[in-house]
């Protein structure tokens, strides 16, 4: 896609904005519509736009596949760790009140951390699925060439 100048310039402008919007709905989800699922999807779509414009190889240099696996597990583990931290500090699983002394502060800390875990998992899983399909296409093309 070296020749598509307009696409490249527009994407260069849009990708940071989409990522910024993703971060906004991630961390402003307590006050306005949003949350981890939506933020993860928006963030992943910015990366997918990068793949469509600059190609999969360049995109995998930014976020390698191994990083996706690690991050998607870390997201879920972060969620579970918050829950278990509540248990260790003397509450039920996923009870946020024991985490911090203030009642509201504890809940907000818990919600933001949990949503961050969800967001990281959703974003990396979407990237991984898209990568798998794009890679599949390359492999199929190679195999067909061998047959022909």
């Amino acid at each position: 896609m070296r020749e598509h100048g307009i696409l490249r310039i527009v994407a260069r402008l849009l990708i940071p904005l989409i990522m910024l919007f993703g971060l906004y709905i991630q961390f402003h989800g307590d006050y306005s519509p949003g949350g981890g699922f939506q933020a993860g999807v928006v963030f992943a779509s910015a990366w997918i736009l990068f793949v469509l414009i600059y190609g999969l190889d360049d995109a995998l240099k930014v976020i390698p596949e191994r990083a996706m696996f690690v991050l998607m597990l870390l997201g879920v583990l972060l969620y579970a760790a918050v829950g278990i931290a509540g248990v260790l500090l003397g509450g039920h699983f996923l009870n946020f009140y024991p985490l911090l002394p203030g009642k509201h502060a504890a809940q907000q800390f818990g919600i933001i951390t949990v949503e961050l875990g969800v967001g990281v998992t959703v974003a990396t899983v979407m990237m991984l699925i898209f990568t798998q399909f794009a890679r599949r296409r390359q492999l199929l093309a190679e195999v067909n060439e061998e047959v022909d």
Partner: protein
């Protein structure tokens, strides 16, 4: 209707995206900001992208199935009729003493701000009151990602015969 009748999968993916975008607009009109955002991001955005990604490795056109399947038609008609019949038993739409308004919803509406100081009630319910549901959803997403990886990371087998299609490969 057009989505169902369309044989060209690319066009039906596009129509499905438009349908999602329209329903996102509908949710926005109904003041359901979270649902509208989700529908726009997930329904119109990422699922269309993933469908298109699938279409790059699959055939562009649906294989036409000749004739009609009578048992399938009967099952669909009976199920639909039963569901419509069941809606007659539903309580009146929007009545204040409906079960949905008297169960836990009033508690959430009244107590979520004093409990947590989070203005967005949807976030409060999703992440705190119903946190175990949400961890389940996170695990579902993780499992989906792992399943796709497990299915697609196997290298494709070399085909014995050349396909009659023009360059597009079916799998």
């Amino acid at each position: 209707m057009a989505v169902v009748r369309m044989r060209n999968l690319f066009a039906s993916a596009m129509l499905f995206a438009i349908y999602s975008l329209l329903s996102a607009g509908l949710f926005a009109v109904l003041d359901a900001g979270d649902v509208a955002l989700t529908e726009a991001a997930v329904g119109a955005g990422i699922s269309t992208l993933l469908i298109l990604a699938v279409l790059t490795v699959a055939r562009r056109d649906e294989k036409p199935v000749p004739g009609h399947k009578l048992p399938a038609l009967i099952v669909v008609v009976v199920t639909g009729a039963a569901l419509i019949w069941a809606t007659l038993d539903l309580p009146e739409f929007g009545a204040p003493d409906n079960p949905v308004h008297t169960h836990v919803a009033p508690y959430y509406i009244e107590q979520s701000y004093p409990d947590m100081g989070v203005p967005n009630m949807v976030a409060a319910v999703l992440a705190s009151y119903r946190s175990i549901d949400t961890i389940g959803e996170a695990f579902v997403i993780l499992t989906a990602g792992l399943a796709v990886w497990a299915l697609l990371s196997v290298p494709p087998r070399r085909r014995r015969r050349k396909l009659p299609t023009e360059g597009e490969d079916a799998r």
